[in-house]
Symmetry: C2
Subunit: 199 residues, 2 copies
Amino acid sequence: MSGAGPISRLVDEFARLPGIGPKTAQRLAFHVLNAPPEMARGLARALVEAREKICRCSECCDLTDSDPCPICRDPRRNREILCVVEQPRDVIAMEKSRGFKGLYHVLHGAISPMVGIGPGDLTVRDLLERLAGKNVREVILATNPNVEGDATALYLARLIKPAGIKVTRIAHGLPVGASLEYADEMTLSKALEGRQELG
Amino acid sequence: MSGAGPISRLVDEFARLPGIGPKTAQRLAFHVLNAPPEMARGLARALVEAREKICRCSECCDLTDSDPCPICRDPRRNREILCVVEQPRDVIAMEKSRGFKGLYHVLHGAISPMVGIGPGDLTVRDLLERLAGKNVREVILATNPNVEGDATALYLARLIKPAGIKVTRIAHGLPVGASLEYADEMTLSKALEGRQELG
């Protein structure tokens, strides 16, 4: 094995994924080559299918393969409470905690002047349009408890409060500086219960 | 995003790769979904292509997309010296050290009674047939310097020596218990120079 060929192309493609260095990419490539062909085909199919079928839900902006997404479609969810999160993975984390029965809004990021992400790069406009049209009683800001997440929450609170909607911030039951994605389900539940109305 | 769908299928497929846990799989899946579609398609194509085109070289048993492989085909390589390694990735590591100009033989593993890998699971028979037919003067055993690699080297030495072929073991310039794959190129070169004839 040497030079440019199907193996090194596969190694290169793996190495383009985040957190996968050249050695890990090589290890993954050789694993796939030694595994039954179904493994390579299964991953290839899942990649193409996911990339083709997945779009943003026209209501909550979460990633979904059916629009509106299953959560927005679910008649048992409380439509008066919106939980605003940064990423689709945060919706998964919240759903696992089973502590929330309202709807979501996915920002697809947080305001971060350092890396040039402003409100226009997020789904802030969609959120405001959504709030204007529907009878939302409370907006829970569940952005990450770090600098960017806190700034985003403050920014949204100032936009939403004038409309007379109750705005709360998820409680800092989470260790400060941590990431919502890695919180355990109990901590997430506790943080949700202890939410406080914003200034 | 919830339940079974293209996203969770993609997460599951990533999680089947070695060393990729559920959180990392989720992170990779969402990265692919946020990246340009070319990324998903590129990885998918590389997977299918590599799995379809790659076979074992009929001479050295290394993985290749052309049989015999480029190294076995290369007229400048010294056909009198064979370097026996455990895995295709070890060939890559050896080639990077530029210390070896002979041919390789890839065992695709090491003898390990603990996990039920015996000589019959490796390419030992191919190696012996190869040695019977060709004028090989020396066999360098470059299996990993750990229990399984040492046992495999001893086993092969006992099989090959009666045929009157010089059998050497790569020097323990490598830290004992380490893996060939992660050695730096200088260490690998030194280990090759300091090789010792076996028993």
